[in-house]
């Protein structure tokens, strides 16, 4: 094995080992988890998965909640960001630069700080525990990144195309629908997947906004499972939850990895 292959192996080991460990643990009996001396053949069980799937609310419920929330956030973000990005590109240079700086600043903002005010809003408007309502602040948090990526995409289009479309008799809406939006499709896909991942991963705001068990998103549910008992940590169940919860995300990332990479790449180069 040459030197590069060694590095690659180390890299893969570093990246994947913790997850593989979770996978192995999820099939390990509770007894074997704390006792390395248990004979190999007696270490394995499906009990953790059974516990998880028969729990109340059932585990797949959390996956569903996260999916609903993430989908709603993504749709709302894209719907707001595309027209806004187009508008930004049409602004005079000075305004565009200022806006870009402000948006970049918002992208850097540590959003965890917003939890208190958003909690108050949720309570006073009686929107706590509504997944769809939570999508609204999520969109706001995703908009900076979406705007940066989509403005860069619109800027990348030759200006003549918009002009030619105007002379063909197309109104603004028609131009967006037939020419501009189709042409930025790759950037839109990248943005969508990044927003989707963010919504799935978000924790502090979901933690304070949602309280009912049936409404919890995956990260919140996981944290609850981790802290559910003061005396013993249900580690096996937690490992099983990790495996089940991670699967959809891992599949998503592997499927869309090209879009994710190009989204982050373009963001970095143009930002």
């Amino acid at each position: 094995m040459n030197r590069r292959q060694l590095w690659i192996s180390l890299l893969l080991l570093w990246s994947l080992a913790p997850m593989l460990w979770q996978l192995i643990s999820s099939f390990t009996t509770t007894a074997a988890l704390v006792d390395g001396g248990v004979p190999f053949l007696q270490r394995w069980t499906l009990i953790h998965y059974r516990q998880l799937l028969s729990s109340d609310p059932p585990f797949w419920r959390f996956l569903l909640n996260s999916t609903v929330l993430a989908s709603a956030s993504t749709v709302l973000t894209i719907a707001l960001a595309i027209p806004a990005a187009y508008g930004l590109v049409r602004l005079p240079q000075r305004w565009l630069r200022v806006s870009r700086a402000l948006i970049a600043g918002a992208a850097l903002f540590p959003y965890v700080l917003l939890f208190l005010a958003l909690l108050e809003l949720a309570r006073s408007l009686n929107l706590g525990n509504s997944l769809l309502a939570l999508a609204i602040p999520y969109s706001a948090l995703s908009l900076p990144l979406a705007l940066l990526l989509l403005t860069a995409a619109f800027e990348g289009l030759p200006k003549d195309l918009d002009d030619a479309a105007k002379l063909e008799g197309m109104s603004l809406v028609q131009r967006l629908r037939w020419v501009l939006i189709p042409l930025i499709a790759p950037a839109t896909a990248s943005t969508a997947i990044l927003v989707f991942l963010f919504a799935w991963n978000e924790y502090p705001i979901a933690l304070t906004w949602l309280s009912r068990s049936e409404q919890l998103t995956l990260p919140v549910a996981m944290a609850r499972i981790a802290g559910s008992s003061v005396y013993s940590v249900p580690y096996g169940a937690y490992a099983a939850a990790t495996v089940l919860g991670a699967l959809p995300l891992l599949l998503l990332v592997l499927l869309f990895q090209r879009q994710i990479v190009s989204g982050l790449t373009n963001g970095a180069v143009k930002g």
Partner: protein, 288 residues
């Protein structure tokens, strides 16, 4: 007409980013806790005076800064190595790149308990490896001195892929011809790294630095689940402290003060850092 396109998005952002800060500013000058029956009562600058004298707050500032600096430095270093590796052309590169991206995709809370178990003494695999190598019981999760390192490891594991992608993007903007010309001038690979790669990568490094420092400042998910702030508050972050004040102690006024105070400190450090960079001339290659 253009403004119509922009308004919904800008309005939403202004609302969600702007309103909380205004609200916190107002709250920080009011007492709003169990003691006041959860009704805000103006108390002048009492919260702020309390903040200035609050040892726990300043301890958290130090801890959070320590966490952020060490974590981000380690990530940058590691990400650079990985990016250099991924920038070269070899078979299976795309697949490896995708696989290294996976840690970043998973929610922090999901892997946090896993890390707790990995570091667990005496049952975790880290302990097993340490025992194998001959090191004594590490007890990493129960040491006020060293547990924070465990949080750094977990954080580095999750966020390095993100920085790797940014640096990789930067590496790919460097024309291959530059290296060829450098070789013809008699330079060697290590020198190329120093003279060509790093200077041209500087904007991307700074971008990652800025982004990650701001994020690390707000670290919450990891700390809450991995250590809960302990042992003895040695890993507690500012965000966690603010959270405790609001949700556990039900002192909303002070929680707002903690957050606002922390945010001001962060902004100040970023501004000072940017100023220092400007003055030192390190930013000159970035000027248009």
């Amino acid at each position: 007409m253009t403004w119509l396109l922009l308004t919904p998005a800008l309005l939403l952002m202004a609302l969600i980013f702007g309103w909380p800060m205004l609200r916190y500013a107002w709250l920080s000058f009011h007492a709003n806790s169990v003691l006041t029956g959860l009704v805000p009562v103006a108390n002048g600058g009492a919260n702020w005076m309390r903040l200035l004298a609050d040892d726990r707050f300043w301890q958290d500032v130090l801890q959070t800064s320590r966490f952020a600096l060490v974590s981000v430095t380690a990530e940058l270093f590691l990400a650079l190595l990985i990016a250099l590796l991924l920038d070269q052309r070899w078979r299976g590169r795309g697949a490896v790149r995708a696989l290294t991206l996976l840690p970043w995709a998973l929610p922090t809370t999901m892997m946090a308990l896993g890390w707790r178990w990995i570091f667990n003494t005496p049952y975790g695999p880290l302990e097993a490896v340490a025992g194998f190598v001959g090191l004594g019981p590490l007890n990493l999760m129960a040491s006020p001195q060293w547990t924070w390192l465990a949080t750094v490891v977990a954080d580095v594991w999750k966020t390095t892929p993100f920085i790797t992608l940014i640096l990789l993007a930067g590496l790919q903007t460097i024309p291959a011809d530059l290296y060829a010309a450098f070789r013809l001038e008699g330079g060697r690979s290590i020198q190329a790294l120093r003279d060509i790669t790093l200077p041209l990568l500087l904007p991307y490094i700074l971008l990652s630095l800025l982004f990650r420092l701001a994020q690390a400042f707000g670290v919450f998910d990891l700390i809450q689940v991995l250590t809960g702030g302990g042992p003895a508050g040695s890993t507690e972050s500012l965000a966690l402290y603010a959270y405790f004040n609001a949700m556990r102690f039900l002192d909303f006024g002070y929680s707002a003060t903690v957050m606002l105070g922390g945010f001001l400190l962060l902004s100040l450090s970023i501004l000072l850092g940017a100023l220092a960079l400007r003055l030192s001339g390190a930013l000159r290659p970035l000027q248009p």
